[in-house]
Symmetry: D2
């Protein structure tokens, strides 16, 4: 209803009541106007129905939703199923155009607006989280692995003669495969054990750079978010190497945005002039949306343009819409509360597990400081065969995400072989269990986990005792 | 409500009424069982609410929706916004795992089932549409351009020493860019004009193959769906070349599934033993879903596995879910009706434009046979400056998708320069307009188009006359 | 987004694209403005998403949806379940206030507007359907029976000394019970058989009026929509009696709005100056919404006010909202199409049954003219015990709504006894089946019915033959 | 998916993953089975999506949702608008049949089940809230006023010669009008002032009973939930009178279920053998659903049957569905938490206002004990003209529900005149403000209210001062 319509409404309902409604409406419009003006997440959460209404308004700006639109092209945003249409809030045109993922589509002003605005809001979220020097954020509707591949392809295009990627071992298949899919050759740098946790082998990196021609190296991939006992890579030293030898630096920060420690590390690198080209992170792991998107950050327009131009053709707007809704639903306050709560619960989880380890003659084998999201605890009192059983017993008791790493697991990916796969290291000495206090975890989860884990552990430990 | 619950319901409502409801329910369950058993699209459409309910049941099979599930991993499918959760029917885990896009996820039996089943239903749809010899279909949650890149990367991995892609010119940026993004080198083969439409230059293809070492060629890309006057590539001859010289053949069939002619051409190639490796098509352009997915078809398990293994990490389930809903909503009948109707309306559109052309001293410059989706019509009576104006006038009159191609447009993509960009040919002689009768078009659209187009044309033609 | 917000949007997306969207938006706003201005149903259907968005805007005008509203009353429109809130589009305050169902609520400008506007749109629908002289329409959130009671209570309040209601027998329990619930005393006037169908016994009405004191009669209830062979009451003569003796006339027109014949009859009465006080009809039976509302029509402001003032307290807005959505979804065109189609299908059904009757030695026992919605057909060739069986066999074959009337059924309601209950007459001679061609029926329904009915009938008839 | 379907699913996804899903599903089915078996609200809240799915399953049990159902009746549950259908979860048939609101409908097993079950769940909620001796609960899809009328009509039918209703004055129009609408004659018994609050004038009640013939009295209406300074009626003494003189007793308990004090009073009456026939309460005011329904409680099957039989015809199922969803969403725990929190916040509000009153030389004029939901505070330091202004200033500051009662307001309803309308008493001495701490209020609401109220009050008080 526009102003004129509201005037006719006053013939049906007294002016003073309509006036109050008009004021309430203006507050809402004002809020939306401010978001568009400043391109910043509002302080407080926006009501869900207000977000939904705004989204509908945006969808109305796309030509497929124009009354009387006649489509004689090959792609006119028609949607067969009304259920599908509703799931997508009538947004049908996706994002991107002719090989530029941030290009606006003449047919789809609304989708284009949503895409541009969301990238800005994501950038604001990134600043709020502490990466204040980042200048560009891009939501890519592909998960982190494929986005890593896209970044690698983009870097490779700038360095057409390069072949190698120096990679600090992290036992996530998708990270490793992102290199292979880009048809580049990974040079695997094993972690070194340092004081009970795993650490980047900087010397080996430098050695490799010197052995290979730096120009033959497409980039270095470091990883900040990882499962204990693997620690945050020493990105300070790596980025110095990158700078020194003019090698691009791609950070796999999959779920690192949720950790103030990781954020701090990255921010420090940048402030001390280390080299970072792209930082890739997952939307789902950091912002509690369904799997499907990632965010690439850069500090440089040219890198940003190269990446956005690299994406061929159109792409789904869904991850963008999910981020739009979620950031507005959180507000700045909600986002910071989540971060705060995760940190608090990580500490709580760490304490509880430490106490439990002490009571049961096991040890925490991860650094509280350098492994700020997950915790690894030995299972040395269990029979080796029971270690896998423990994982499966937890799973059938509806504990998901607890990972058991068993000594001696081998894994071959393509032609590459890994010893102790899952442990990020060829040299671990114990089987262990890793758990994470990831964003969204609740205190109750930790309590129930501790109880169920202890039950299962004690049951299996009795096996070990009786076997002796 | 399980059977036991229904028994308690009979304490509240008479047995005979419950019994009738039970029978109705059994019919529904039966229908779903049959789909799962035969992995085929039902003959008749499924009711939307039945689909929605099934989808909810599937979502309940994912661990994030288990009552009492405790998540201690780094990605537990938590969704912050309930609006986002509803948009995704509570599906959060995406598809794929550790670098295999069809791998099942232990945490997400429902999503895994949905993914597998939908690929089967898509394969059935492909068979229904006439590609009866295809053996594998894979929904990829990326649009056609990026999926072409993924296919190219997969092919390149098998032919690590290859560098070139032989490409029959088609002026769609995303197709061309998919080659560049894969860091391969396109060899552009211009179309030849044949009897008023553009045709594949087979001789030039063979010449290039012979000049370059066939082993240096990663693949040939042909295009079947394209804007008139560009015609379907001569895929018969191309696939023979591919066979002769052992070169992979990738078909860009972006919106070709909607045309029985194109389907027929592809099927013929296969039946006559030509070589086809991957056929890539859009979900949105062929099945009326929002932009975001594509379908890759192959005739070979190994090629299928290579592709599915190439995808690094997880991916959005949204395009899959959209296809699932849409295919069930259509039923076999609805799908064939759409195809039938499109064909009929294409013929109608062709007739109307032919008549109009005759009346206005313009000509149709596309082959009805080899350009079965779109039609090109000259604009030779307009001033060159008015040609662009015509496009923009149509657009502001809410005609979307009509493309004006103006003589002499130059375009540079990377280092490659194209003459008469948009016309798929360096040698066209007239500016022209292309329109399409794509799937979902209605008779009314054609009538309104004819009227509005004529209005605008006559207005501009008067300019031309008065200028003389 | 207000104009200012759109201006900021132009910093993100080119002005010309936003401008096109703005125009499309203006068309939509214009459409809504026109509806509010003229208070008439639009010619063409409104898109569902536009209706939904408008409804959301209206809901935003209620104080429970104001940002920052503080409620310190006893009823503040809070909704516990977000699922419930969504079902109601966030509308919570209902309609009516302090004993006037059309009073506006200061707290709920939106709900009040929706209520007023919908009553106007319903009035427009009534005019479109042909009751052009009606001046007031009121949607009451109670089904017809209870609304009949409310009308009776309202009439009784004006005639405090009256006790009787003269009632032309119609075997619908809720109509009869509406009199008993109002604590009035029904005088049952039996139908007379006339030329194979049942007709109002006008003489008996007049006799009763003269026997009782006219002032002791609260009102006459006539029924226009009924199951064959009961015909439309002779409302012309009844309304003349009402006029002559100054007795109010309440028409039970439950599902009569769908019949052009019934509409015509009522309109004729009014044009010839007969007396009609209130006409009551169902929203669900005439407008294809869920059960829950009715519409009261009057020709007189005073009667309208007396009724709206009679309703004590607040009431559900749901039936109003359903009507609002439905009328806008239909548009004038959709509404008239439905009426047209029903008439056509009634005629088709009549023909098919006539032919069937001829073939099977049964007869149609209803007047095509005076029973314009339903058709009665004898079952004289079946054993009496099989007549009930036929009803139940149809029902288990998913034929709902076919009513079997068996000779000799007795029914007592309160202290009143009815012979041949269901047949509207103590004197019928055959068991029979009644079916209706009600609004929304489809040709396919009729075909399947004819087939299934014939199957069942022949099966049972064989029983009759073999029994002999 | 039934068991058989799940077996086919195991061909697509490993058995062990499906098995885990099957277990999770069984837990959910179990939960629903238990609710149907015990007809009790679950201890813990049910997930919204589980409720929605159950509701869909129930809707599938209605014939309008049967696949292949053919409707040849006059009301077949067809829904025109899919938006309307979704709002109603596809439930279309309403509740009740032929003049019995709890009768099951053969066509609508699902709706019938939902209706019966919800009445049982509501009864359980009533028991949980403390009315443990109540034996029957009935959700009526009309708000309290109209339901009071229905109760009165039902009582009147049993006492056909009665005319009067003895009514303890409460200035809610809908309560008073419910008597007039039933065409009964109210005898207004004024409150007496007792120790600063208003109390039932028992002596006057008895005097009236004796003056009128008890058989001429249809019933006594007492009110338990009311705005301060009106207190809970002395229902103990009234129910004793009712017992002594064999007069029915109808309790207007509109929003009394939320108060443990009121619950306690009613329960005491019953335990001490006082007479209560029907207790009427609002669904929206007590259970945070939209306006539209009420609950009638009785202790006696016959009274229950008389009421359910009195309702003529069908009725909306919406209020029932809202209650179903809400009670399952709350769980027993959620319901009790709400009650607990309201009580706590009432006490807090009382304290804050007492302190404020002391600071500002005003007084609380309601009993904390006998007015357990609302609080009245004098405005004696304001000019009389500013008292209304205060109400309106609060309203424009988005404080809703604060009622200003101004000395000397007269109101006529029908032929009855009330002095000091709004104050429940002809003899109040001060203008005052009433506010409530109703269910769902939050601490933050109270704080903001106190601040805004004080601002407005001080502003107006300065007027008073400056005027002097």
């Amino acid at each position: 209803m526009n102003d004129e319509a509201l005037k006719y409404a006053e013939r049906l309902v007294p002016h003073s009541y309509i006036e109050l409604a008009r004021q309430a409406r203006r507050s809402n419009e004002q809020e939306i106007r401010l978001i568009l003006e400043h391109k910043k997440i509002p302080e407080q959460p926006l009501e869900e129905n207000l977000i939904e209404q705004w989204l509908n308004e945006i969808a109305q700006m796309d030509s497929n939703n124009f009354k009387g639109n006649i489509g004689v092209g090959e792609r006119e945003g028609r949607i067969y199923s009304s259920l599908v249409a509703r799931r997508h809030s009538l947004l049908s045109h996706g994002i991107g155009r002719s090989g530029d993922i941030i290009a606006t589509q003449p047919k789809a002003a609304g989708s284009s607006l949503l895409n541009k605005l969301t990238n800005e809001l994501v950038l604001d979220a990134i600043h709020i989280l502490g990466l204040r020097t980042v200048t560009h954020a891009l939501v890519i509707p592909m998960a982190t692995g494929m986005t890593m591949t896209l970044c690698l392809l983009t870097l490779k295009k700038q360095r057409p003669n390069s072949r190698y990627v120096l990679w600090s071992r992290i036992d996530q298949k998708s990270c490793f495969k992102s290199i292979l899919t880009a048809n580049l050759e990974p040079i695997i740098i094993e972690q070194i054990e340092n004081n009970n946790y795993l650490q980047t082998n900087i010397d080996e990196f430098e050695k490799q750079i010197q052995q290979l021609n730096p120009n033959d190296i497409c980039c270095i991939i470091s990883t900040t978010s990882c499962f204990a006992p693997r620690a945050i890579d020493n990105i300070q030293s790596l980025s110095n190497l990158c700078k020194t030898y003019s090698i691009p630096h791609l950070i796999n920060n999959a779920y690192g945005l949720q950790s103030t420690k990781i954020i701090h590390e990255i921010e420090q690198v940048k402030r001390s002039n280390g080299r970072i080209d792209y930082i890739v992170q997952s939307t789902d792991k950091n912002f509690l949306v369904p799997v499907g998107g990632s965010i690439v950050l850069t500090y440089n327009s040219q890198l940003f343009d190269q990446l956005s131009h690299a994406y061929p053709g159109r792409a789904s707007i869904t991850p963008t819409t999910d981020m739009f809704i979620t950031l507005l639903s959180m507000g700045k306050k909600g986002l910071l509360d989540l971060i705060e709560q995760r940190k608090r619960l990580f500490n709580l989880f760490y304490e509880k597990l430490s106490q439990w380890a002490k009571d049961n003659n096991e040890c925490i084998i991860s650094s509280k400081q350098f492994s700020p999201i997950s915790i690894a605890i030995t299972l040395k009192n269990l029979l080796n065969k029971d270690v896998t059983e423990l994982g499966s017993m937890l799973f059938t008791r509806r504990i998901s995400g607890a990972r058991v790493v068993k000594l001696g697991t081998k894994q071959t990916i393509d032609k590459y072989e890994f010893i102790n796969y899952g442990a990020h290291s060829s040299t671990i000495q114990y089987s262990y269990l890793t758990i994470a206090a990831a964003i969204g975890i609740e205190e109750n989860d930790i309590e129930i986990f501790m109880k169920k884990f202890d039950d299962v552990y004690q049951k299996l430990r009795r096996n070990a005792t009786s076997d002796n």
